[in-house]
């Protein structure tokens, strides 16, 4: 079924037969227009974090990986790993203040004023940063997410 979806996005590029393991990648533009991702403010980041070459093109394997992590059956730790990747805009393995500002702007579609944004980002770092380096490492993120009641609910995906 997933293969069907992958195929119908670019029928002239994607072969029906995968036994010979062809090297086919679909560009980001096609993927983010899928109905499941279209309304998501983080769609570019989602696709980028599953892409092996970091540019946002997904091979079929990457495509399957993406939907598995977003599905109900994926374990919590896995979801946390990929959520961290999604929110890490500059891919330095830390969620720093600039990443937080970008996340916030995407979430509120830039409706908040500059001082409100600064206030929120400061509060987030104050709440979640355990090792005191001014940014969130994966350990901080995992610690905070594991206690959240809503996390699993909103990361479910229907097939």
């Amino acid at each position: 079924r997933l293969h069907g979806r992958y195929h119908e996005m670019a029928p002239n590029v994607v072969p029906m037969d995968y036994t010979k393991d062809p090297d086919v990648k679909l560009p980001m533009q096609l993927i983010i227009n899928m109905p499941e991702l279209k309304e998501n403010p983080f769609k570019e980041r989602i696709v980028a974090s599953f892409s092996e070459d970091g540019e946002g093109s997904l091979s079929f394997n990457d495509f399957v990986d993406m939907f598995s992590v977003l599905s109900e059956m994926a374990p919590r730790e896995l979801k946390a790993i990929y959520a961290f990747k999604i929110y890490d805009f500059n891919t330095d393995n830390f969620i720093c203040k600039a990443d937080l500002e970008k996340t916030l702007n995407k979430l509120t579609r830039e409706e908040l004023t500059a001082e409100e944004i600064t206030l929120v980002c400061e509060k987030v770092i104050e709440e979640a940063d355990m090792d005191g380096d001014g940014k969130l490492g994966f350990a901080d993120f995992e610690n905070m997410i594991s206690k959240a009641p809503d996390f699993l609910r909103y990361y479910f995906k229907k097939k």
């Binding site: 998501n40 937080l100 509120t108 579609r109 409706e111 206030l119 929120v120 987030v124 997410i145």
Partner: protein, 629 residues
């Protein structure tokens, strides 16, 4: 590394992939679990969809914040109560009378008098609730006082009395129960250690695929952030305690002055109007004639704005400021009402001293007239000591006695209808036309209409909540005399919900500082309880102390309305029951019972306090344990 994890996953769940033993059973188990989870989700969705207006309120909440939404949740709750009251009055009073009681035109009290017949069907008369509307199941006066009606032997007067008392009892019970439930919810409290982080990372719903839903979700996330920001700013405020305290004392002093001033103004104006009345109203123009009404309306319009200005001195959290505002406006309305009544008290006293003997006199006169009139029918045709068949007289021609209960009921109904009209017109003009004006005239106006004056209006939470509460007070006061009131109110609330939801989304803008309403709404409930108590006092007083009209209603002929209970006990229950009831209503038994209730109240209060303290201690311990880890 991901493919390694995938391999481990596959090995673990071999059975599901069709290899290894037990594959069929395993596949079946997995399918059933999936189906069950899907069913649970669908059922939850269905339950949420059944709650009326839930989608509308969620939409308003996402754009305007939880405080505005709390008004609409309160409105929906009131609608539920009014539906139950409507069910009681409609099903147990109006329908039995309509189906099994004597039909229109059979009795004098059920017929439009000959004098009024010509105009009885006019729209103007019906709008005023006279004419045919008055002589129908809608009002008290229509009901007959026979003990049972129809083949079911339905006890109409008893049912009327019990429905009246039962509505009040039910209202008290439901308000208190909701307050208790809200207090329970509040006690939970939430874990706010990662408040902002959770809002940032877990608020987006990855299942959203619909653009409109996405819009609402963005708005609700933004509003949620704004609310949390307000809370944070409030908690960070640097307070100069002495200055703040001084300013707050000053503000309260000013508010008290305003209240006292408005009370005195009303007193003065009412006295003046009595003066005018004494000298004859024809000598004075429109202002003198309507002085009292206009002054009260103007006070009602301007004093709340004044309170708003005063509250800016106080620098409270917006939620607390709203409560002070509500409390002050409430005190203003009550104070105005009481000064009005006190100022009239002299007049009422005079009138009462004259009126009461008059009403008794009037009764005697009417009864006398009726006997004379009957005698005139038989005039000369029948000797005095024989019984003759009664002459058929059209009930419309029979002279009628006064019926104050119906008049009171009519006043309440008129008040409710006019209040409804005023609210709708205010919304249409004050909000809608203003928004249209600002939007379209902005292009050709000297200053920027949208940012300066008048700009779009904000939703006035306190005004609307108080309006709702006072309106409900009117309903409680009047529904004993006009069983149609709950029905009118259900209609009013239903249309109000749609009209106001539309008006809010279309013409209002969110407030500057959006704040999170306290989850409980207990403040509104407390005011409602107070108003309920005040509104039921008049009805209870009339039931216990004033004799019912002799010529109309289900209690005509009795000296007091509550006698219907003793009558029922005599006729319908075995005699020992009556004796037991007599013993139970002995003051010697009732006083110790009241004492017992007061003591148990005190005990329960003390235990609940100690539980709350234990709860807080446990929470603190939990927090310190978590920090250690």
């Amino acid at each position: 590394s991901f493919s390694r994890e995938a391999q481990i996953f596959v090995e673990k769940f071999e059975g599901a992939l069709g290899k290894g033993k037990g594959k069929k059973f395993y596949a079946y188990k997995v399918m059933m679990t999936k189906k069950w989870m899907k069913f649970q989700r669908d059922f939850e969705n269905f339950k949420t969809a059944c709650i009326p207006w839930e989608m509308k309120i969620k939409e308003i909440e996402s754009h305007f914040g939880s405080s505005v939404a709390s008004y609409f949740i309160f409105l929906r709750w009131m609608y539920g109560i009014n539906m139950i009251l409507f069910g009681l009055t409609f099903g147990l009073v109006m329908v039995p009378e309509a189906l099994m009681g004597k039909p229109y035109g059979s009795l004098p009290r059920k017929t439009v008098p000959r004098a009024e017949e010509a105009t009885a069907m006019n729209f103007a008369t019906l709008w005023d609730f006279s004419g045919f509307a008055q002589y129908s199941v809608l009002f008290y006066g229509y009901y007959n006082n026979q003990r049972t009606i129809g083949w079911l032997k339905f006890r109409m007067p008893l049912s009327y009395f019990l429905v009246g008392v039962g509505s009040i009892g039910y209202s008290f019970m439901i308000v208190t129960r909701t307050m208790a439930k809200n207090a329970n919810d509040d006690g939970g409290g939430d874990d706010t250690s990662f408040n902002f982080s959770w809002k940032m990372f877990t608020s987006w719903d990855y299942l959203i695929g619909n653009p409109e839903t996405a819009d609402n979700k963005f708005a609700s996330i933004t509003t949620s952030f704004k609310e949390a920001i307000v809370e944070e700013q409030e908690s960070r405020k640097e307070e100069n305690i002495h200055l703040t305290r001084f300013l707050r004392v000053l503000a309260n002093f000013l508010a008290l002055c305003t209240l006292a001033g408005s009370g005195y103004l009303i007193f003065f104006v009412v006295r003046r109007s009595q003066q005018f009345a004494l000298e004859g109203l024809e000598n004075y123009g429109w202002w003198e004639r309507n002085e009292v009404n206009t002054v009260m309306s103007l006070l009602g319009m301007f004093c709340p704005t004044l309170f708003d200005v005063i509250s800016s001195l106080e620098n409270y959290h917006p939620r607390i400021a709203l409560r002070w505002q509500l409390g002050r406006i409430f005190a203003l309305f009550l104070g105005n009402l009481y000064t009005f009544i006190i100022a009239l008290m002299d007049e009422i006293n005079l009138k009462a001293r004259y009126l009461l003997p008059f009403t008794l006199e009037e009764e005697k006169i009417v009864k006398y007239n009726m006997t004379i009139w009957e005698a005139s029918l038989y005039n000369g045709t029948i000797p005095e000591n024989s019984t003759a068949p009664p002459i058929q007289v059209d009930p419309a021609d029979v002279p009628r006695g006064p019926c104050w209960e119906t008049m009171v009921g009519q006043e309440f109904v008129r008040l409710t209808v006019s209040d409804m009209m005023t609210t709708y017109i205010t919304i249409l003009i004050g909000d809608f036309l203003r928004a249209v004006f600002v939007r379209f005239f902005n292009y050709c106006w000297c200053w920027d209409l949208e940012y300066g004056f008048p700009s779009y209006s904000e939703f006035d939470i306190s005004g609307n909540v108080l309006g709702l509460i006072f309106n409900q007070g009117m309903i409680w006061m009047g529904s004993f005399y006009a069983p149609c009131l709950p029905a009118i109110n259900v209609f009013r609330l239903h249309t109000s919900m749609y009209l106001q939801c539309w008006a809010v989304m279309c013409c209002n803008v969110p407030q500057e500082r959006v704040f999170k309403a306290s989850r409980s709404n207990n403040f509104y409930m407390a005011m409602l309880l107070f108003i309920l108590f005040l509104s039921t006092l008049p009805a209870v007083y009339t039931i216990v102390s004033i004799p019912p009209s002799f010529d109309c209603g289900p209690f005509s002929g009795k000296t007091r309305m509550y006698e219907v209970i003793s009558e029922t006990l005599e006729h319908d229950f075995p005699s020992w029951f009556g004796k037991v009831f007599g013993y139970a209503s002995n003051p010697g038994l009732i006083l110790p019972f009241i004492l017992l209730m007061v003591l148990s109240l005190y005990y329960l209060n003390a235990t609940s306090k100690s539980y709350k303290e234990a709860n807080l201690e446990l929470k603190k311990k939990l927090q310190s344990v978590r920090i250690e880890n």
